[in-house]
Symmetry: C2
């Protein structure tokens, strides 16, 4: 059984790495014999993990049956609790986004119970919709901006939320009634780093093994991939980069200390510097994306106050990133969260500071890239993480006979 | 052949992990059959990697033959180029120190060519001595305080030495004539971290996977082990911790920048603060160990200036270590180099700063330990690294028939 489980995972992994392949090609590339592949494929179809389609590509001879990851019977769920919003995402096995929700709110003002109530309601309606569409849920992974004890699923401390010792998994289970899927909780920056690493590998840097991802928000979330693996540290608290004390001593941070990096690169410091107190761009009850659009428009129009504020953030962003690059020597530094939409104004200053402060020649080979995942990196990382367990062990999922698809596969 | 090579490594690894074991126990614990074990053991003895000894332990029945790592036919060589000294160490396969040399000098004043000439002479006489004693050399690994391109074996830049683009391996080969063993070069802090990690595993923390090791010297060398593996980063430049800009803006660092961490925790800052300019304790031509002994004696006698200087270093050491702990969440922080002998005065301040600046509860579970390897951590790490290739592939070494030992093994 262990061998069969392993072989199911091998075939599923191979189909993930390709755009689609015939049974014959699966057999050739995995080294498994054709009869075994055929049996494994039937089981993966029955489990709702792969599907069969006519090849639409031109070529000689009759069109072959192409196997590819399933797009609609199973999903991984991600949720994100942020200071400014709650988010949900459902990703199909093939990576298609099946559902996506984003609800702006002021999490600090609402408190933990209020936020978890809203999240519970969002989850209940999303689950009902997915069930109505015949989509099974493989698991839920919740991203939170704080130090997480992954094993019991507890937020130890989330300074920007003002939360401490919140048993997130228990709280969510209590609000969902009988949820039969596993629920996990993890640091948002770790999940964002996983999603950004997948994005980097799928993009221009397929061979990269070491990245640092920095996500701009109320604070700055850091995630590290070292030698192809998420760096968690001994107790899973790794990647806590926001409080490197390199800023001015008169800047007070949300954590109560002074001079923390995020006190000069977080959203508040940007908006404080860019606009007067009564400027609507600083109104936290408005949607952050809209506020950033306004700011971007002002920068494009050459507004001096906005440009000065962005230059200040870019300078500090580069100076802190240099610390991380010196310690970790990543191949790629990924800028995400709010850093992404304003990156045209940040990047020249980031580059200047890296040149100045990175010890290794040519900044140690590090390339700075901007994530295209926007504020959805963490929630996407959560959804991907929920699916990873299935990729590792496809026998975790059994959707039942799924007769229509199976019959279609058998008669073709 | 690949399978036999693998099995040779398995048996050698097993004997490394134990104090010594009989053929029968090797067979039981490795799962290999007795005939195979017997053949593998004979080959490992012939290759000079293990030896056979009478069991000296009490017990019932006749004493068995105990196999253990060889103590004297093969060694790994480590060398270290430091600002204050050159060092050599030869480690036997069983970890015994077969030779150790340490030569104080002023590397900056001598320049690269002069230093490499002296190192070449040290190596030539060490090799002659080892050859005279019948000890074969498996390889040489040279530790340097700078950014190293491991693959061609070049120092890209070593700020504290003032070296740039020095092809260390070529330079050493040119001075050794025909050296038949592989020569490697690596960052001293990486090699020290490897040695400290081995020390931690062999000591009170056998299950630790994540450490940060900090070695006090002219600068502060950092090495990171993450998930059981040395963190090198994409181009091998990782662990460059000395220039985190957390110090006072008026402190000028050897790198030309201001406020670098090592400008407040390096040896110079300690001696500058602890003693008047004409105090012999500051004379760099004297042996560093003796100078530190003087300083320690003054601290023990309660000399206020010395204690203030040590408190200052301890405070900054803790503050920088907190940055690393927040990012990396190590299980253990190892203090080595000059930090070790003065650790009784540093530790209370380090602990205070970690409590204050580490975000995770209970400093993320990180324990601070003091290395017992002294200034020999890097050179020991080099010697260990030279042996690692042999542990990975025992067929790299063939010392010839080694008749006496083989016969002893065969007749016993």
């Amino acid at each position: 059984m262990a061998l069969r489980r392993h072989n199911l995972a091998v075939v599923l992994d191979f189909l993930r790495a390709t755009e689609g392949a015939s049974r014959a090609r699966v057999a050739v590339e995995t080294g498994l014999n054709k009869a075994t592949v055929s049996s494994l494929v039937t089981e993966l179809i029955d489990r709702g993990l792969i599907e069969e389609a006519e090849s639409v590509r031109g070529g000689i001879g009759r069109p072959g049956q192409i196997l590819r990851l399933d797009g609609g019977r199973l999903c991984g769920l991600g949720a994100e609790i942020s200071v400014d919003y709650l988010a949900l995402m459902a990703l199909a096995v093939n990576g298609d986004v099946l559902a996506e929700t984003r609800l702006p709110l002021d999490a600090v003002a609402m408190g933990a119970r209020g936020v978890l109530d809203v999240l519970g309601n969002m989850l209940v309606s999303a689950l009902a919709e997915l069930a109505g569409a015949g989509v099974h849920v493989a698991g839920l992974t919740v991203a939170v901006p704080g130090l997480v004890k992954v094993e019991p699923g507890v937020i130890a401390v989330a300074p920007n939320l003002g939360w401490r010792d919140i048993a997130v998994i228990d709280e969510i289970r209590a609000r969902l009634g009988r949820a039969e899927f596993p629920i996990r909780v993890d640091n948002e920056a770790n999940l964002a780093a996983s999603a950004c690493y997948a994005e980097v590998l799928a993009g221009a840097h397929p061979d990269v093994t070491d990245i640092v991802s920095l996500s701009g928000g109320a604070g700055v979330g850091g995630g590290v991939v070292s030698d192809g693996r998420l760096l968690r540290g001994g107790r899973g608290f790794g990647g806590e980069v926001g409080h490197i004390p390199i800023g001015p001593a008169d800047r007070v941070c949300g954590c109560g200390r002074t001079g923390c990096w995020e006190s000069v690169v977080g959203l508040d410091s940007l908006f404080d510097a860019a606009a007067a107190p009564d400027d609507p761009v600083r109104d936290r009850s408005l949607d952050l994306v809209a506020r950033l659009d306004s700011l971007t428009a002002r920068a494009q129009a050459g507004d001096p106050r906005t440009l000065t504020a962005l230059a200040e953030v870019g300078t500090w962003l580069g100076r802190g990133a240099a610390v991380l690059i010196n310690i970790l020597n990543p191949d790629v530094l990924v800028l995400g969260g709010y850093f992404a939409p304003v990156s045209p104004w940040l990047l020249p200053l980031v580059d200047r500071e890296l040149d100045e402060h990175v010890m290794a020649p040519e900044t140690g080979g590090c390339q700075v890239v901007v994530s295209g995942l926007g504020f959805a990196a963490a929630v996407r990382g959560g959804a991907q993480t929920s699916l990873e367990a299935v990729f590792a062990d496809p026998t975790l999922i059994d959707l039942g006979p799924a007769r229509e698809l199976a019959r279609k596969g058998a008669t073709s």
